[in-house]
Symmetry: C2
Subunit: 322 residues, 2 copies
């Protein structure tokens, strides 16, 4: 297949190679390339190709990645929370509509086995100042119907690996959109619970200490991101998502779990103009509180469990020990 | 005058005393009792009497104060940021309409000489979930016209003591409502600048280190409040104001300045239901960044000024030193 692609310097080159593109296996939100629709593609080299969305959103996202990737004000410890940007490339669109410009990004699930992923849209409003009245109304309606207004964030999609037999729990878009505050709390627990406990009323959160907790855990990463948002006045991230991901199997195998957060979806990033992104920060703090609550609960129940197991055996006069 | 007042236990007592009530001298926002209108009153004993607002807002605020004042979950270091609540009392309304129930609160400017006061309404939205469509629309309009949406807070009123001759700078309601982001930045500088520099393009912020800075300064208090808001899930403070106040004269006289923050206006406080008040917290963090920027700038200019004044005198051959 002949592919025409834009180089970084803006010149156009032609390259002929056999396509190894396919729809991503672990996409949990957004438009899917399957069923002949327009959506992102991945290849075997660990790259993620996102077609530029129409109505200017795609070009705005490209412009963001171009600015951001060369922005020396962004410290490295924060840059790691963003997918690596490799430029843009013209590719056959997944819907067969012909050549279409794609963002070329790091495929953040590449190399992971059965990743559990949560896509959390951050902010108590997803509209941005200056948007059209119709757009604001549409966002306000959806923000109010979901947990965006009440929680300052909403889960936009998820897949949760439950084990070899059950595979993934991947609720449909409608189910996810109808999540209440209690559902969100429960999903955040279920996300880090052992498969055997997931059907229970109160999942065990047995992975919480290793995934949410620890010096390289999700909570520490969120706190690092928060510290940057308390200070940075460069960008306002409207309607942007935070992915939380890890491999349950690597935890089960006893290897160090790589739990990660990544920010994605930058079609509505505006200049900060000297003001912090209080909308994103507020939502992030709300998510942090939820994650931190799950972690505290799991520590408490682990202490209770230890105390239970450390109880001295009491032997009765008939020789039975309890 | 015969005054009928509600005691804490709900019983009604009657008391006869001569009224010493008057309109507050230093009110910077809200309804004013002057000109025969309904508004709050103060007396000489350091109490502030706020008439219960109509359409349920007044009774909601009373209910909040009653709950809050006996809420043992609120730590003392946070409680000091709220006016002391002394119950409610029936008083002759300031507009002569007869007896009206008033909240009896601590008059937070009592005992201060020429206080400089800023009323900052916190949050990037002033409406609350569950409000009527009309109310939300009204709030959204005003939030967008002011800096509420862009900054996560807006200045709702202020008075700034400029010295014996000029007295107070107290811009009118319309002027305050039209403050842009740049105006807010400038007001926050002007608020802690010496009177002589206030007319200048860049006020000197000479009081910033003693008022915004220091271990008992405004910034430290805001950070203490922030730490609570990162964790507390009891109350959501919609459309609530944060007062920042200090006496410039006490600074000029060399006495320790008492710079304070106080939260007021609780007609729209809702239960937190296990979720942090991300709307208030986001706005608070934005205000903190602004205050902290003024402080850093003032430290930098003070270093520059010191470096300038420490420059060695250079004497020219004709004996003039520069």
């Amino acid at each position: 297949m002949l592919v025409c692609w834009y180089c970084f310097d803006g010149s156009i080159a032609h390259s002929s190679f056999r396509s190894m593109f396919k729809a991503p296996e672990h996409q949990v939100a957004g438009h899917l390339a399957s069923d002949g629709k327009l959506g992102p593609l991945v290849d075997d080299s660990g790259r993620f190709y996102k077609p530029l969305q129409s109505d200017g959103r795609g070009s705005k996202e490209l412009a963001f990645y171009e600015t951001f990737s060369s922005d020396t004000r962004v410290p490295d410890n924060i840059r790691r929370f963003f997918p690596v940007f490799y430029g843009s490339q013209l590719l056959e669109a997944s819907n067969g509509s012909g050549l279409c410009l794609h963002l070329v990004l790091q495929d953040i699930v590449s190399g992971r086995t059965n990743p559990s992923i949560m896509d959390v849209k951050i902010g108590s409003r997803t509209w941005y100042p200056g948007a059209s009245d119709d757009y604001i109304k549409k966002c306000l309606d959806k923000d109010g119907r979901t947990t965006t207004v009440s929680l300052g964030f909403r889960i936009a999609g998820l897949q949760l690996y439950e084990g070899e037999e059950s595979g993934f729990w991947k609720p449909g878009r409608k189910e996810v959109q109808s999540f209440t505050v209690d559902n969100v709390r429960s999903v955040l627990r279920r996300f880090v619970s052992s498969s055997s406990s997931i059907g229970n009323e109160k999942p065990d959160c047995s992975f919480a200490p290793s995934i949410y907790g620890g010096s390289a855990g999700i909570l520490e990463q969120l706190l690092e991101l928060k510290a940057w948002f308390e200070d940075q006045t460069i960008y306002h991230f409207h309607s942007c998502s935070l992915l939380i991901l890890f491999d349950k199997e690597s935890v089960l195998k006893g290897s160090t779990p790589v739990a990660e957060i990544k920010l994605i979806d930058f079609a509505h990033v505006l200049e900060g103009k000297g003001v912090i992104d209080h909308n994103f920060l507020g939502g992030l703090c709300s998510l942090i509180k939820f994650v931190s609550d799950v972690l505290s609960d799991s520590k408490e129940s682990s202490i209770t469990a230890n105390v239970e197991s450390e109880k001295p055996h009491v032997c009765t006069s008939n020789g039975n020990c309890v």
